[in-house]
C-alpha cells in the first residue's frame, strides 16, 4: 500500500473515532479520494454541507 493511501486510510479511520463526526461526510470524503478526482475546497465544502443537512434531517 502506498504511503498516500496509508495516510488517507488512517485519516478516515481517525475521523471515525470521533463519534460526533457524521458518518456520511466521512464516507463521502473516502469516496472522493477513491474516485481519483482532484479534491478541491469546493468539493469538500459540498460534502460538509450535505453531511450537515443529513444531520439536521435526522
Amino acid at each position: 500500500m502506498g504511503i498516500q493511501r496509508e495516510i488517507f486510510e488512517e485519516f478516515v479511520e481517525k475521523l471515525g473515532e470521533d463519534k460526533e463526526f457524521p458518518d456520511s461526510v466521512r464516507e463521502e470524503i473516502r469516496n472522493l479520494w477513491e474516485s481519483g478526482e482532484i479534491i478541491s475546497k469546493e468539493k469538500i465544502f459540498e460534502v460538509i454541507k450535505r453531511g450537515c443537512a443529513d444531520v439536521c434531517e435526522d
Partner: protein, 797 residues
C-alpha cells in the same frame, strides 16, 4: 526478474539527432566532457517516463515544446523509445503520445512517472541547502505525497474561509442587536428580551400587549383600526418602511475605515517595491535554479564573478522574506470577507429602497440618482473583490465620495417621506399609534434579521467545526506517518553517510516534520559533539553533497521498490577523490541489483568506478562508454570505454605520434599526482591545483629514494623513474615543459609510453591491482587494500 532497460532509442531530442544505446539490462557508466550530450541522454529518459524535462519546467522563456526538439527538427519529429526486459517490450513517447505500459511494467512506470529516480547536482542542494518547506517538497516528491499535500492545502483554505465567514456573521449579529437596541431604546442582549421591552412600550401607551413576535402583524392591524384614514394605510406603511431604511446613513464611517485599513494592506503588497519583490521572487527562483544546475560561478545577469554558495545562501534568505508577503496576502483574503459582506448588504438595501420609492412621484429624482449610485456601488464591490486577489488597489476615494452622495440622497428621501407622511394629516393620536406600530414592526423586522443571521452563523459554525476536524485529523495523520517514514529512513541515511565518512564527527542525522508548520521538514545533525546542528553549518560543500546523495539513495531504496532504476547525472563534482571512492563502493555494493545510469565529465571518478567494478567483480553488469565527440549535426559519438593504455597502444600502432604522445603525457600527469597523493610527497603549493610533470616528477622520485628502506621495491621503482627520465620525450618535458613531439620519432614516443606504463605497473599491487600507499603510522608502503592477502610492500625509514 526485475524490469530493466534493454535499449534506448532517441530521435530529434535536445542535442541528439539520432542515438541508439544498447544496455541489455546492464548499468551504464558514461563519461563525456561538458556539452557533449550526456545530459541530453538523461533528459530523453526523463521525458520518456515523465513527459517533462525538469530543466525546462517553470523557467520563464523556456518550454519543452520549443527547446525539447533538436534544433534541426520539429516537435512532431521527437521520438524516444525504450525496450524493456523481460518480454522485449517496446514503448515510445512523442509530444503527441505517451507510452502505455502493459501490466508487468505498471509498477515500474508508477514510480518512473514521478521522475524520482533521477538525481542531479542541483537536487542534492534541495535536500540540504533549501528552506524546510522546499526540502519537504523535494522529499515529498520522492515519497509520493504531493497529491496529499494539495488536498491538505485545500482543506486548510476551506477552514480559513469558513473562519472568516463565522467572524463576519458574528459581527453582523452584534450590529443587528445594537440596531435593535437603538429601535426599542433599551440595551438588548438576546432576542428573548424583545417581547417584554415592546410590551413595556405598549403598556405605557395604553395599547394592548403582544404575546409573541408572530402576533405583530395581526396586532398592528388591530391598532391601525383606530386610524381614520384607513384607505391610505398601505401608503403610510410603505412610507414608514422608507423612513426605517433611510433613518441612518447606509454607508458608515466604520465601513470606510475598514476599507481603508484593508486597502493599506493591499497597497503594501502592490506598491512598486513589493511588486518588484514579487517579481524578484520569480527572478530569484529562476536565478537560483540556473546557478545551481549550471554550477555557474558567474552571475547569469551581469556576468560578474560570484561566490556561488554565499550568493545561494543570500538568495534563500531573500526568498524567506518574500514568503512573508505571501502570508500577508492570505490575511487579506481572510479579513476582506466581512467588508465585502457589509458592502453587499448596503447594495441590497439600496435595491429595496429603490423599489419602495418607486410609487412616489415626489421621489422620482432621488430614485434616478440611486439607480446610478447602485450601479457604481456594484462596480466598486467588484473592485474590492479583485483587490482582495491583489489585482488592484481599492479605490477608497470612490467610496468616500459615494458615501457622501448616497447618504445625502438618503437624507433627502427621509425628509421628503416624512413630509409626505405629515401631509396625510394624521391626528396626534393617530400619529402616536402609527409611531408605535412602526416601532414594533421595525423591531420585528430586525429580530427576524437577527434570527436569520444567527441561523447562518450556527450553520457556518457547524461547517467550520467539521472543516476544522477534517483538516486537523488529516494534518496530524500526515505528519505522524511522514515522521514514521523519516524515522525508518534515518537509519539508512546514517548508515550510508557513515560508509562515506567513517570516523568523522558527524552523526545522528535526523529528519523532522517541523512542528506547527503545514509542510516543512527540518534536518539536524550531531556535529563535533554538538547535537541538533543545522547541516548547513558543516563547512564542506563536499560533505553536504554526500549527505544529500545519502538522503536521495535512502529514499529511493525505500520508496522506489519495484523500480530498480537510478540515474545520477554528474552529481559528485565537489566530493574529493578519497570520498568518491567510497561513493563508488556504496553504489556498487548497496545498489548492485539496480540498473544504474551514471554520467560524469570527471575522468578520475570514472576510473574509480571502473576500479570498483573490477574490485567487486561486477564488470559484467556494466556497460562503460565514453562520448568522444559531439556536434550539432551528428550528436554525441559514443564508444565503448577503452583503458587509457589500450588507447595509447592503438595510436602507436597507427603511427599517431602526436595522439599517443599527448595521451601519454596526460597519463603521466595523472600517475604522478596519484604517486604524490599516495606517498605523501611534499610539493610546492599551487593555488590553481594544476601541476605539470616538471613540478611533480623530481619530488616523487626523491620521496621514494628518501623514504623507502633499501630493497627490491625501492630498487625497482627508482629504476623505472630512471628509465623514464632517460627518454627523449621526458627530457623535453623536464627541460622546458614541452614534449616537442613533432621533432620525435615514433620509436622515441613509444619508448616514453612504455616507460610511463612500466612505472605505473610497478606502483600497482600484482595481487589486487590496487595502488601502493604510504601508511605513516605503520611505517610501510603497501597495497592500499588492507584486505589484500598477499600485498606488495616495503618498510619505510
Amino acid at each position: 526478474m526485475s524490469v530493466k532497460i534493454k535499449k534506448i532509442n532517441i530521435h530529434a531530442f535536445r542535442g541528439i539527432p539520432d542515438l541508439e544505446l544498447e544496455l541489455d539490462g546492464k548499468s551504464l557508466l558514461l563519461r563525456g566532457e561538458n556539452g557533449s550530450g550526456k545530459s541530453s541522454i538523461v533528459e530523453a529518459i526523463e521525458f520518456f517516463f515523465t513527459g517533462k524535462v525538469a530543466h525546462l519546467e517553470g523557467v520563464q522563456g523556456l518550454s519543452l515544446r520549443r527547446h525539447g526538439p533538436h534544433v534541426n527538427f520539429k516537435p512532431e519529429d521527437v521520438n524516444i523509445s525504450i525496450t524493456f526486459n523481460p518480454g522485449n517490450i517496446f514503448l515510445s513517447r512523442t509530444f503527441a503520445s505517451a507510452p502505455s505500459p502493459p501490466s508487468p511494467l505498471e509498477e515500474y512506470f508508477q514510480i518512473t512517472r514521478k521522475g524520482t529516480f533521477i538525481l542531479r547536482r542541483s537536487q542534492i542542494l534541495e535536500f540540504i541547502m533549501s528552506q524546510p518547506a522546499e526540502r519537504f517538497r523535494a522529499i515529498g516528491s520522492i515519497i509520493g505525497i504531493e497529491q496529499l499535500d494539495n488536498v491538505e492545502l485545500e482543506m486548510m483554505r476551506l477552514r480559513d474561509e469558513l473562519e472568516g465567514k463565522v467572524k463576519s456573521k458574528k459581527k453582523e449579529v452584534e450590529r443587528l442587536i445594537k440596531e435593535l437596541s437603538d429601535i426599542v431604546g433599551k440595551d438588548i442582549t438576546t432576542i428573548d428580551d424583545v417581547i417584554s421591552v415592546l410590551n413595556a412600550i405598549l403598556r405605557s401607551a395604553g395599547l394592548p400587549l403582544i404575546k409573541s413576535l408572530e402576533d405583530v402583524d395581526k396586532h398592528a392591524e388591530e391598532m391601525l383600526k383606530s386610524v381614520k384614514k384607513v384607505e391610505i394605510l398601505d401608503k403610510i406603511k410603505v412610507l414608514n418602511e422608507i423612513l426605517e431604511l433611510t433613518k441612518n446613513p447606509l454607508i458608515t464611517k466604520e465601513t470606510v475605515g475598514e476599507l481603508t485599513s484593508l486597502n493599506e494592506k493591499i497597497r503594501y503588497l502592490l506598491r512598486d517595491e513589493a511588486r518588484v519583490k514579487l517579481s524578484v521572487g520569480d527572478l530569484l527562483e529562476t536565478g537560483r535554479k540556473i546557478i545551481e544546475q549550471e554550477k555557474l560561478d558567474v552571475c547569469p545577469l551581469c556576468e560578474q564573478k560570484i561566490e556561488r554558495e554565499s550568493l545561494l545562501a543570500r538568495i534563500n534568505t531573500r526568498l524567506t522574506t518574500l514568503r512573508d508577503l505571501s502570508n500577508k496576502a492570505s490575511e487579506i483574503r481572510r479579513i476582506s470577507v466581512p467588508v465585502i459582506d457589509s458592502l453587499k448588504r448596503v447594495s441590497n438595501n439600496l435595491g429595496v429602497l429603490i423599489s419602495k420609492i418607486e410609487p412616489f412621484p415626489e421621489l422620482s429624482k432621488e430614485k434616478e440618482i440611486l439607480l446610478g449610485k447602485l450601479n457604481s456601488l456594484n462596480i466598486f464591490i467588484e473592485k474590492v473583490v479583485s483587490g482582495k486577489d491583489l489585482q488592484n488597489e481599492i479605490p477608497v476615494r470612490e467610496i468616500v465620495q459615494q458615501k457622501d452622495e448616497i447618504n445625502q440622497v438618503i437624507s433627502s428621501i427621509y425628509k421628503i417621506s416624512n413630509q409626505l407622511l405629515k401631509d396625510i394629516g394624521l391626528t396626534e393620536e393617530e400619529k402616536r399609534v402609527l409611531e408605535i406600530v412602526r416601532l414594533i414592526e421595525r423591531a420585528r423586522s430586525k429580530t427576524k434579521d437577527i434570527s436569520k443571521t444567527n441561523i447562518e452563523l450556527m450553520t457556518n459554525q457547524k461547517y467550520l467545526e467539521l472543516a476544522e476536524k477534517i483538516y486537523s485529523a488529516f494534518s496530524e495523520t500526515k505528519k505522524t506517518k511522514i515522521q514514521e517514514v523519516y524515522n525508518i529512513i534515518q537509519a539508512d541515511i546514517q548508515s550510508f553517510y557513515s560508509m562515506l565518512h567513517p570516523n568523522e564527527p558527524h552523526r545522528n542525522i535526523e529528519l523532522m516534520v517541523a512542528p506547527g508548520r503545514r509542510a516543512s521538514t527540518e534536518m539536524k545533525i550531531e556535529s563535533f559533539g554538538r547535537e541538533g546542528e543545522d547541516p548547513r553549518a558543516l563547512t564542506s560543500e563536499g560533505h553536504l553533497d554526500s549527505l544529500g546523495l545519502c538522503i536521495f539513495l535512502a529514499f529511493v531504496k525505500k520508496f522506489n521498490e519495484g523500480c530498480p532504476l537510478v540515474i545520477l547525472d554528474d552529481v559528485i563534482t565537489t566530493i574529493d577523490a578519497n570520498h568518491r571512492n567510497k561513493v563508488a563502493e556504496l553504489l556498487l555494493r548497496e545498489f548492485k541489483d539496480y540498473q544504474l545510469i551514471i554520467t560524469t565529465h570527471d575522468g578520475i571518478w570514472y576510473d574509480q568506478l571502473l576500479n570498483f567494478q573490477r574490485a567487486l567483480n561486477v564488470q559484467d553488469d556494466f556497460i562503460n562508454m565514453e562520448i568522444t565527440w559531439w556536434d550539432v549535426n551528428t550528436g554525441p559519438m559514443i564508444s565503448p570505454y577503452k583503458p587509457r593504455w589500450e588507447k595509447i597502444l592503438d595510436k602507436l600502432k597507427n603511427n599517431d605520434r602526436s595522439g599517443a604522445g599527448n595521451e601519454c603525457r596526460m597519463y603521466l600527469e595523472w600517475l604522478l599526482k596519484e604517486i604524490c597523493e599516495k606517498m605523501e610527497v611534499a610539493v610546492p603549493f599551487m593555488r590553481s591545483g594544476r601541476y605539470t610533470v616538471r613540478e611533480l616528477f623530481d619530488p616523487a622520485e626523491k620521496r621514494i629514494e628518501d623514504k623507502l628502506k633499501d630493497g627490491d621495491l625501492k630498487k625497482d621503482l627508482l629504476n623505472k623513474f630512471k628509465n623514464l627520465k632517460a627518454t627523449t620525450f621526458m627530457g623535453n618535458l623536464l627541460s622546458h615543459d614541452n614534449p616537442e613531439i613533432e621533432n620525435l620519432s615514433i620509436e622515441e614516443v613509444k619508448t616514453f609510453c612504455n616507460a610511463v606504463h612500466d612505472l605505473h605497473e610497478t606502483f600497482l599491487c600484482p595481487q589486487c591491482r590496487k595502488f601502493l600507499k604510504y601508511f605513516r603510522d605503520s611505517k610501510i608502503v603497501r597495497c592500499s587494500d588492507l584486505r589484500c592477502e598477499s600485498p606488495k610492500k616495503e618498510m619505510t625509514k
